[in-house]
């Protein structure tokens, strides 16, 4: 059960794993785009994004587009590595259970 030790607690949540996966394939996404993609409420999305930010997996940029505030999110290098190794762990887990 050595894969259990490597299991990433931050990415254990399906929503956070989903967030990381779209942020890895896209250059950057806005709060509203993420909300639409994952079909989440504002509060729910914000709390999961905060968890990812605290882990250092995503970077937040606050700008203004016209007068509206625009918050965009980007995955960091650490986040991309963590995501890749988490996928590896998942793959190993499924292989062992087969």
């Amino acid at each position: 059960m050595d894969w259990l030790e490597n299991f990433n607690k931050v990415l254990e949540s399906k929503i956070r794993l989903g967030l990381m996966s779209v942020l890895v394939v896209n250059e950057s996404l806005s709060f509203n785009e993420l909300k639409e993609l994952l079909q989440l409420t504002d509060g729910n999305l914000a709390s999961h994004l905060r968890a990812l930010e605290e882990a250092g997996y995503v970077e937040v940029q606050k700008q203004f587009s016209g007068r509206k505030p625009l918050t965009t999110y980007k995955s960091t290098n650490t986040g991309q590595k963590a995501f890749a190794s988490h996928l590896q762990v998942l793959e190993n887990m499924i292989r062992q259970n087969l």
């Binding site: 794993l17 779209v22 785009e33 993609l37 998942l90």
Partner: protein, 216 residues
């Protein structure tokens, strides 16, 4: 076993999410079919106007028509085809996006348009320059070439089949470069026939699936 099934479902959902977020998948196959039909009508109009049949090499040595005649007719003809194709393309794409409850104007559609626009704009200016210097017969293959390049470039942001459509247009354009007498035929095949084949294939593969899924 059920936990395995669950993780497989999660992985599938995530793969779908990654694809949906990075690619524009609301392009409708029907818009391809209609673009093809309009292009065929446009090339038939050109055939009729210049009174040629499919086999006679023309335009390169058009005796009875002046260059200005040919250019202005082809410009209007081409612009009409483009307008109708774009209009039907936008119409069917918006409808498909609404049906699937997807946003139309998002970062993936923006990237798709930008990646198409750059080769098309360069090609358009190149064609205008050739018209300016009187190389009308080269304009036909070159529009095919640049359109193919635009499709290959844009295929990263939408269905992978667009890549093969792009390659076919490029190959056709390359052949047409050396058979300039049959420009209109190649144009009709490239913009008409290929679009219809592509559109029908895409409609069968993706759009119909969605419709049957929603019925179930």
């Amino acid at each position: 076993m059920s936990s395995n099934q669950e993780s497989l479902n999660t992985l599938n959902e995530i793969r779908d999410l990654m694809e949906r977020s990075s690619k524009f998948l609301s392009l409708s196959g029907l818009s391809g079919v209609f673009a093809g039909i309009f292009a065929l009508i446009g090339s038939i109009a050109a055939f009729v106007r210049f009174k040629t049949d499919f086999y006679t090499p023309t335009i390169s040595s058009s005796g009875s028509f002046s260059n200005e005649d040919v250019i202005s007719f082809l410009l209007i003809d081409g612009l009409l085809v483009l307008t109708f194709s774009l209009a039907s393309g936008i119409l069917f794409t918006v409808r498909k996006a609404r049906k699937r409850r997807l946003q139309i104007w998002n970062s993936s559609s923006r990237r798709l348009l930008v990646s198409m626009f750059i080769p098309l704009a360069a090609g358009g200016i190149f064609c205008l320059a050739m018209l300016h210097y009187g190389y009308i017969w080269l304009v036909f293959p070159v529009t095919l070439l640049f359109y193919g390049l635009a499709l290959v470039n844009a295929s990263r942001f939408t269905y992978p089949e667009v890549f093969y459509l792009g390659i076919s247009e490029i190959v056709l354009g390359c052949i047409a470069l050396f058979l300039t007498g049959y420009s209109l035929v190649f144009w009709a095949i490239g913009f008409g026939l290929l679009h219809i084949i592509y559109g029908a294939t895409m409609y069968n593969k993706y759009d119909r699936e969605v419709i049957t899924k929603t019925i179930q």
